[in-house]
Symmetry: C2
Subunit: 336 residues, 2 copies
DNA sequence: CTGAAAGCGCTTACAG
DNA sequence: CTGAAAGCGCTTACAG
């Protein structure tokens, strides 16, 4: 039914055996330049495309890897996909985008099913799935190559790419301290996102280093959503001694806090400084634009794909640079 | 090397021929309940997963479709992916996420290559790729099943799902007119997004219907980006007779216009009303929240997948409802 | 309701 | 440097 030409038809036109066509397609050595050229011409003439299914079935590689994600942030997912996709295509691999539920009972089963069905050559795992330990352990047991993006737990010897969330959290906090702030609140992300815990650790480290007492009442649980940022800000600003600065674990929550400030006519940054994390589009779209930490999301995924498919096996853990972005949502602490 | 069990091993354990196992896997009729049960048990015991490559190669269906997208909006792409993915998985299909360049010379060639390599059963095409006519025509020629999301051109008899952008643009404009605005600016999206042209048409229709003169100087070209919204607002507000309302073709541009207003201490909505389109997360994250048109992005993609894979062949064009969201970024026109 | 044969379009050893 | 045989793990006709 499908008029797709096959390797055999190509071989007929090129006047060689179909095995030779296969060699050319796979860029094998030991093919004379003349033969190679003839085959390439025949391929172009027929507009031949090798069947991926046939290659996968016959060969020992599928040239397919999956990207696992479970993240409510369109911005994050979009850039993770773009970076991973770019590097995979460059290296001749297809990338399957696989949403999943990192908390689900059957996460491991679902992923191993995909691995088997699709004969996957490897898996790229973005947070928070990158910290789903039962899955990670099963992949190690089955010797499936994988790479983790921003894993917080047991980074160990597995392939991984991340930024230094602790250092970034510390830098941002130190910047706020430098502006004169002492009552600095922190809004945490969901517990299964280890990065959030690390940013919180950096916040504590900075307070300690500068002799500012850590006040647990100024640390509020959020879930990385805009709504949770609103809620956190409302509870913080309801205090008799509200903070002069709010450091939210990501930009969405910072935007939520900012909306609360606007509603209450609290001028940012004059009366209240607000900072986020990630430097998503949102950070530049709100007013005033958010002071935040730029995270190279796309590069993280690009590097992860590169490590998985084209790594040297030696450099197994990669740490990329982050950048503190000072914008108008933060300013000197108001005089008491 | 891979210890994957095959259909033959399942058949041995179940005590039937491997052909019968195939029947059970494909939910064919004419299998006794007892036999079916035995096979299913064997499948569970071995944790058997059929090889997708083998099924594709042997059968005439690959149970694979691709989603084509070329859209700089993470929000839009994320929800399009989620909706299409959900319905595909429900119907037993795998969805390949395929970014592409709708303006590229070799768009058609790239897509047909994917179709051949992956033996695709169909294609879901999101805007602006859904209006790349050379591609659409080639798919028709090759009789590849496809469905277009929000196509503007030649909707014709091809499968498609959309909202009524003209009506939505008209409603939003009428709302602004109802608030007393007469000098209403419109910021257009990029020319290859036909939806933008249609929203603009709705804007014109509303002006006409209410006897408001159409002023071409109040229509500014943008490209759906935040930055272009900023630029548009800057040029509009530099006029000696600036508009009292700005209707931006999407939320990102509206957010850009809003930022300009903030910078210049123009109070929104008291001195200037601003409206967007799409109702992305951004619309609710900025201050004041944007009046906009809610577009059921996820449903559009879900319905597109459904039409492609489970349609009745009769209802070929689907129009989903939009909703005007009145929020705080628009208000009565200031008294002259 | 169930089965034995052929074949999908490639790659993998193995030869020469 | 090139080729003939076998086989990957399934589905498709064709039988009975």
């Amino acid at each position: 039914m499908s008029g797709r030409p096959t390797i055999k038809e190509v071989s007929k036109i090129a006047g060689v055996s179909f095995k030779t066509v296969s060699r050319v397609l796979n860029n094998e050595k030991h093919v004379s330049e003349a033969t190679r050229r003839k085959v390439e011409e025949a391929v172009a003439t027929l507009n031949f495309r090798p069947s991926h299914a046939a290659r996968t079935l016959a060969g020992r590689k599928s040239f397919q890897v999956a990207l696992l994600y479970d993240n409510p942030s369109p911005y994050y997912v979009y850039h993770i996909q773009a970076g991973a996709q770019e590097r995979c295509v460059e290296l001749g691999f297809r990338l399957l985008h696989q949403p999943c539920d990192s908390e689900a009972e059957d996460l491991t089963q679902g992923v191993t099913a995909l691995i088997d069905e699709a004969h996957l050559d490897g898996v790229i795992i973005s947070p928070p799935v990158s910290d789903a330990m039962p899955l990670i352990e099963e992949l190690e047991r089955r010797k499936i190559p994988f790479v983790r993006i921003a894993p917080g737990i047991a980074r160990g010897s597995t392939l991984s790419v991340a930024i230094d969330d602790v250092a970034a959290g510390r830098e941002l906090t130190e910047y706020l301290i430098g502006l004169g702030h002492r009552a600095i609140a922190f809004v945490k992300g969901p517990p299964n996102h280890i990065s959030s815990e690390e940013r919180h650790q950096g916040y504590r480290d900075a307070l300690d280093a500068h002799g500012v007492a850590y006040d647990p009442d100024l640390v509020v649980q959020g879930d990385y959503s805009f709504a949770s940022g609103r809620k956190a800000a409302e509870s913080l600003l309801a205090r008799t001694d509200p903070p002069t600065a709010i450091f939210a674990g990501n930009d969405d929550m910072a935007a939520g806090a900012l909306a609360v400030a606007h509603e209450r006519d609290i001028v940012v940054p004059d009366a209240l400084s607000i900072a986020g994390f990630d430097d998503t589009d949102l950070a530049r779209a709100v007013w005033p634009p958010l002071t935040t930490v730029h995270q190279p999301v796309r590069d993280l995924a690009w590097s992860a794909a590169n490590l998985l498919l084209d790594g040297d096996g030696k450099h197994r853990q990669l740490t990329l640079d982050h950048v503190l972005k000072k914008r108008a949502s933060t300013g000197p602490a108001p005089k008491a």
